[in-house]
């Protein structure tokens, strides 16, 4: 099962592709078939085998703070999410 996932905010992503260079599982690629409202090809998570661990390295290098990261954890360990 999936351990984590990311959401890329396409209002903010400028297609710089830095996140694609740091993902340890190489799961992020540029969506060349579509454009953001500002005309960039956005980054997207392509994770058919649910390999994303939610390590958040992509979020650390994203210059436009476009990436939100989630991770699945046991319910017993969960803290209230402040969103």
């Amino acid at each position: 099962m999936a351990k984590g996932r990311i959401e890329v905010d396409e209002r903010h992503c400028k297609g710089c592709a830095l996140c694609t260079t740091v993902c340890p599982k190489d799961l992020i690629s540029m969506a060349m078939e579509r454009l953001t409202p500002r005309g960039y090809h956005p980054a997207e998570l392509r994770d058919p085998e649910a390999a994303c661990t939610g390590c958040a390295i992509c979020a650390v290098i994203c210059p436009d703070v476009a990436i939100t990261v989630y991770r699945w954890i046991p319910a017993a360990k969960s803290l209230p999410v402040s969103a």
Binding site: K14, C16, P63, D64, V65, V81
Partner: protein, 262 residues
């Protein structure tokens, strides 16, 4: 494992100290990274309601639109002078300037030197990308020898244009400076180290220890004429040998305030 026992938890989201707006920075520009690190540190310190930033002239001139806190806009290079006044009138507020190399090291060299020399209790975030970004990629005081810019198309010739200024080394000589450090934003590990240095610099101010500055080596993909990924490699290969990373001044009492460990 049974999915029903698992819950999805938030690992990372945009810090509260950043507004949810589009920035005008070029794709891959590390100004966004520096903004985010400052915002994360101010969030962690719980000082957003008490923070006052001073925006410079340069690419980050619109920083007041991007940070979710009080901000003032200074004349070119005069952010440390403005921050001096703000901090002296409002000593309980967290006052910081956010300046580029053209702003801080060129037209604002007098202001930053004397703010550091006086030991003003402010925090300075200094973005060094070795070029004037906003005005079209002209030579800056920090431009590397041999570096091609729009005003040095054959490369910076030190016999004609002089040598680059190393601001951390200069300011660390002043008694008023409490914490002066240089970090880089070219990879994940260094971004994390940069955040720790920023935290240290803000805690120096909160403890009233004096002037603190963190220099962040940054990129300018557009005016360097390369892609975002290549520009980060260029920082590592060309800028770091000229501008070595490290703590240049850790004054009395600084090591004992937090932030140096994660």
């Amino acid at each position: 494992m049974d999915l029903s026992e698992m819950v999805e938890s938030l690992v990372y989201r945009k810090p509260d100290s950043l507004r949810d707006v589009e920035t005008h920075y070029c794709p891959g520009c590390t100004h966004g990274l520096a903004h985010r690190l400052v915002a994360e540190v101010i969030d962690e310190l719980g000082m957003r309601e008490k923070a006052i930033g001073v925006a410079p002239v340069g690419c980050s001139v619109f920083a007041y639109n991007y940070f979710n806190m009080d901000f003032a806009e200074a004349a070119h290079g005069r952010a440390p002078a403005m921050a001096t006044g703000i901090k002296r009138v409002n000593p309980d507020n967290l006052v910081f300037t956010y300046q580029g190399d053209g702003d801080l090291a060129s037209i604002g060299a007098a202001e930053i030197l004397h703010a550091a020399g006086r030991g003003e209790n402010i925090t300075v975030v200094f973005i060094n990308n070795a070029i004037y970004g906003m005005t079209g990629g002209q030579m800056a005081p920090t431009t590397l020898p041999g570096q091609r810019t729009s005003s040095t198309p054959l490369g910076r010739d030190v016999e004609v244009h002089g040598f680059p200024l190393r601001m951390c080394e200069v300011l660390s000589q002043l008694d008023g400076a409490a914490y002066v450090a240089r970090r880089s934003l070219h990879d994940v590990a260094n971004i994390r180290k940069a955040k720790k240095a920023l935290r240290q610099a803000f805690e120096v101010q909160l403890n009233g220890l004096g002037f603190a500055m963190v220099e962040l080596l940054s990129n300018c993909p557009t005016n360097w004429g390369m892609g975002a990924t290549d520009s980060l490699v260029w920082i590592e290969e060309h800028m770091i040998p000229m501008f070595p990373l490290g703590d240049y001044k850790v004054g009395p009492g600084v090591a004992s305030v937090g932030g140096r460990e994660s």
